[in-house]
């Protein structure tokens, strides 16, 4: 196998040939002030303009040395398209949604031309630009939100969780089933636009919900989604998810992107060959507040544990020192 960035990532996603080193990949944002400065592109432009979005993603490969380019930095592209009032932030602040338009769990109408809404079109255009620029040399990651996360945005996170607690199963499932076609449509469109892989972020995190919630409410939906999308999918769920790894492995994702608070060796042991693993360098203590040596040591630990693709555990803080992120790449360049 030629050890190109693209091949290393794709092979790692299917637990195939290892090539001469493990790949560094970022299912979530690696944008920090240093990267914005180096690329000459800043937030919020990189959320709103396809060329700026693509340029910043490309900087992740050309400046930091990651084997992936991933142009979606916020979790609010879909919610903006569905009518949430999104504050796109600035150089120091990530976007946030200010409203929850379906707090009453009323019928959600997904417009037929949803892919033409500016917040979705910009991602599709950025993916096309990236495919044109990197072809098949570098792995292009797209990203979509799953029905659970979209329901947080539509109904409000606390409100959505409260309905679950009150046993309003039908209401909750109905909301997610209304969201599911958007997840599928946007993911398919991203593959058509040029993505090699799509990340599906669905925050059924151990900090908020239980494994039994996932099993009863979301797992059947995830199974339908994975069966209806042809290309490879990486599931991203933050937090401690040790108690639901078996369920994630049942859902049909090619890989799972996990956090450092779950021990890499233990996660590899539990998951086995059922899906590949991506992660898991700690954000707050290591990448943000630590040193390059700390980041390097964690990356080497993850490689030794058998994690297939090495990268930050989640979107990195904007004030993260660039050198700490580069240390992840230094660690993978040393090989296995």
């Amino acid at each position: 196998m030629k050890s190109t960035s693209h091949n290393l990532i794709m092979s790692a996603l299917y637990n195939g040939r290892k090539g001469d080193r493990p790949p560094a990949g970022n299912p979530t944002s690696i944008v920090c002030h240093g990267l914005m400065d180096a690329a000459g592109v800043s937030f919020p432009e990189a959320h709103l303009d396809a060329n700026a979005m693509a340029d910043l993603a490309l900087a992740g490969h050309e400046i930091l040395g990651f084997d992936t380019v991933m142009p979606e930095y916020s979790v609010h592209q879909e919610s903006a398209a569905l009518g949430c009032d999104v504050d796109w932030g600035d150089r120091d602040n990530m976007p946030d949604s200010k409203t929850s338009p379906y707090a009453e769990f009323s019928e959600v109408k997904i417009p037929e031309n949803i892919l033409e809404k500016p917040s979705l079109r910009v991602v599709l255009d950025a993916l096309s630009i990236l495919r044109h620029k990197v072809g098949d040399r570098v792995a292009i990651f797209g990203k979509v939100m799953g029905p659970w996360t979209l329901s947080y945005h539509m109904a409000g996170t606390q409100n959505f969780l409260l309905q679950i607690g009150m046993g309003e199963k039908e209401k909750v499932i109905k909301m997610m089933r209304q969201m599911m076609p958007l997840t599928i449509t946007f993911a398919r469109a991203q593959f058509r636009a040029g993505a090699h892989v799509v990340v599906l972020a669905d925050h059924v995190t151990g900090d908020l919900a239980g494994p039994y919630h996932y099993q009863e409410l979301l797992l059947p939906i995830h199974k339908e989604i994975t069966s209806q999308i042809g290309g490879p999918l990486i599931l991203h769920v933050c937090g401690d998810c040790n108690d639901r790894l078996d369920l994630f492995a049942e859902a049909g994702f090619e890989a799972y992107h996990f956090e450092f608070q779950m021990d890499a060796k233990e996660v590899v042991r539990k998951v086995g060959n059922r899906m590949s693993l991506v992660g898991c360098i700690n954000n707050p203590q290591v990448l943000f507040q630590g040193t390059p040596e700390d980041a390097y040591a964690q990356a080497r630990y993850a490689i030794a544990a058998g994690v297939n693709i090495i990268g930050p555990e989640c979107a990195i803080p904007l004030a993260t020192p660039l050198e700490n992120v580069k240390a992840i790449v230094s660690a993978v360049q040393e090989g296995y």
Binding site: L162, N283, F288
Partner: protein
């Protein structure tokens, strides 16, 4: 009488929010004391709920419903307290710091603190250092609780503590911090008095700070 209290306690633990008002009314008619209903049923139930949450036996959805159930019970009792002297376990100001609008963690902490008998002033989210300091000066709380979900907003906690020092308020209020990116090392580094990893720990810390000998006397 204890049967009434057990029923109330179980209803809160199980989040049976539609039944709680009838159960509390029945307990009052059955001559249970308000003190017993509050301390031995409602507050005792939230202690059990908190422990189950800490043990990962339940998660946020169930905890939210139990908290709402308890609040419905307390709301029914409040009118009966008029004219009676009440004493809370202490006053706590809670907020999510400037630049951060995430509030589920903060809200859970508040529900548990109220369930444990504390008087909580919820300032909300995205609160500036200046507003916090003004409120501390005015309300003179026992404890100030600061929450942040984002790594980008964690430094705001440090600014609050620095300003408390500048205004010579630091010795009069205990500061506890929490939120997903925060840990004990960070709390120590910025000069906070405590880090709580979840709502249950926040209650334990608050009880320790204010003193466990005080009973919620009504």
């Amino acid at each position: 009488m204890s049967n009434h209290l057990d029923e109330i306690k179980n209803a809160v633990i199980q989040g049976r929010h539609k039944e709680i008002e009838d159960l509390v009314k029945a307990a009052i008619e059955g001559k249970a004391s308000i003190n017993e209903i509050v301390n031995d049923a409602l507050i005792a139930a939230m202690d059990v709920v908190g422990q189950k949450f800490a043990d990962k036996g339940i998660f946020v959805p169930e905890m939210l419903v139990s908290a709402i159930t308890m609040k419905k019970g307390l709301d029914l009792i409040k009118p009966l307290l008029k004219g009676k002297e009440t004493e809370s376990r202490g006053t706590i100001i809670m907020c999510t710091v400037k630049g951060d609008i995430h509030d589920i963690g903060k809200n859970l902490v508040i529900m548990m603190l109220e369930g444990a008998g504390f008087h909580v002033i919820d300032l909300g989210v995205d609160i500036t250092v200046e507003k916090l300091i003004q409120t501390v000066e005015k309300m003179k709380p026992n404890i100030l609780g600061l929450s942040a979900l984002l790594t980008t907003t964690m430094p705001e906690m440090k600014k609050v503590i620095e300003e408390l020092n500048v205004r010579e308020l630091r010795d009069h209020v205990r500061v506890m911090v929490g939120g997903a990116p925060v840990n004990a090392a960070f709390a120590e580094k910025i000069g906070a008095d405590a880090y709580g990893k979840d709502a249950v720990e926040a209650v334990e810390i608050s009880r320790r700070f204010v003193g466990q000998t005080q009973r919620f006397l009504l």
